[in-house]
Subunit: 214 residues, 2 copies
C-alpha cells in the first residue's frame, strides 16, 4: 500500500507534515512515496492564491506555523527568503533514486530551508545536500530536459487528481490536505473512516442558491 | 477573559467549531462571545476565493467536513442548498440578547442548517427558531436598519483585525482560524503558546525572492 505525498519545499506545512507522515503510514504496513510538485502551478491551475499572496493570511501563517512547530516539537526558523524559487530543489528531489537516498535528500533539503536558513536556491547548497544523500551527480542530472519534464508530469498528475494545495497525501484517489489531515489519513488507514457515500453524493448535487457577485 | 468567535452559518467548519469552543474556553475561566460576520465580505475584502468557489476544493471540502464530523461525533448532513444566502440568520443572531438566549439561537440555527437540512433562508424557519430561543420579536427586529448596520460593523471589525476566514477565534488580537486551531487556542489559554516574538518579526521582514506572474 503506497501513500503518495505531494509536496513543495516552499510550504512550511509540507515541512511539518514530512516530519510525521512516515510514522502515520509505516506502522500500518504502508510506504510513503514522496512526489515533488510545483505549488505555484497548482495555484495557476485552480485559479487560487497561495497563503503568502494574501497579506492577512501571510501574517497569520507565520504565527500558525510557529505554533504548530512548537506543538509538534519540530525545529523551525524563518527561511532565507519567502517566496523563493524551489524549482532546482524540486527537480533534484524528483530524480530516480533509491527510496532511502531520496528520503535522506528530502530530509536535508527541508531542514536546510526551514530550520537552517540556508539559501536553497544556490546550486552549491543543493548540490552539497544531494552529495550527502549519496547522489553526487544530482545537480548535473537535474538540468537535463527529462528532469524538468518529470517535475511537470508530477505536477500535472497532481492537478488531475484534484490536488490544489500542499502537502496532500493520497491513497486510492482519497486526498488528505494539510498537516491537520494526517489524523484523518491515520483513521482512513486504520479503517475508522466511515463517510457515508450518499452524503457526499447528496452534497455534490445540491442546488446553488447564492453566488458572490464578481 | 472574552474569546470572540467570528463565524458565518454558511461554513460547516464554523458549525463544527461551535460544538467545541465553549468546552475549550470555559474551563479556563473564559467566555465565548459569538460574532456573526458575512464570510462573502471577508473574501471580497481580501480578494480571495471561498473553498466552495474552487471546484476541486469544494469536492474536497465535502469529504473533509464529513470525516471531521465523524471523528468529533457531530451529526452532519448536506444542507438544503450551498451556497445559500445567510444574511437573515446572521442579522437575527446579531440582535441584542442575553448570552444564553443567543447561544440557544445559534445552536438552533446551526443545527437547522447542518444537521436538519431545513431551508434556513425561509423567514418562517428562522422566526420559529428565534421564538424557541426566547426571542419572538427577532424576525421583525432583524429587518430594522440598525440590525443590518450591526452585521456590517461586525464584519468590518473582523476585517480590521485581519480575519480572512471563518471560523476565527480571537483573544487579545491573536487569531485562531479553523476548527483545527482550537487546539492552538487551548494551548494559548493554558500558557503553552510560546512563539518567540523575534521569529515572527524576522519572518515578516524576509526578502521576497520569487513571485508568481499574474
Amino acid at each position: 500500500m503506497i501513500v503518495r505525498f505531494f509536496f513543495d519545499f516552499i510550504s512550511p506545512y509540507a515541512y511539518l507534515a514530512w516530519q510525521k507522515i512516515h510514522a502515520v503510514v509505516e506502522p500500518e504496513g504502508g510506504r510513503v512515496q514522496p512526489v515533488p510538485v510545483l505549488f505555484a502551478a497548482l495555484l495557476d491551475a485552480h485559479g487560487t492564491l497561495g497563503p503568502a499572496e494574501v497579506p492577512a493570511k501571510r501574517r497569520y501563517l507565520i504565527k500558525d506555523v510557529s505554533r504548530r512547530a512548537a506543538m509538534e516539537g519540530v525545529a523551525i526558523d524563518a527561511p532565507f527568503a519567502h517566496p523563493f524559487n524551489p524549482l532546482l530543489m524540486l527537480r533534484v528531489a524528483s530524480l530516480p533514486a533509491a527510496a532511502q537516498q531520496r528520503r535522506r535528500l528530502i530530509d536535508g533539503l527541508f531542514r536546510a530551508t526551514w530550520a537552517e536558513r540556508r539559501d536553497v536556491t544556490d546550486p552549491a547548497v543543493v548540490g552539497a545536500l544531494a552529495a550527502e544523500a549519496g547522489l553526487p551527480e544530482a545537480l548535473k542530472e537535474a538540468q537535463a530536459p527529462d528532469a524538468k519534464a518529470r517535475l511537470r508530469q508530477q505536477t500535472e498528475q497532481a492537478i488531475a487528481l484534484g490536488v490544489f494545495g500542499v502537502p496532500t497525501a493520497e491513497l486510492g484517489g482519497e486526498l488528505f490536505w494539510g498537516t491537520d489531515s494526517l489524523i484523518l489519513l491515520e483513521r482512513h488507514l486504520t479503517g475508522q473512516d466511515k463517510v457515508p457515500k450518499d452524503l457526499a453524493q447528496r452534497w455534490e448535487s445540491l442546488p446553488r442558491q447564492a453566488e458572490r457577485r464578481k
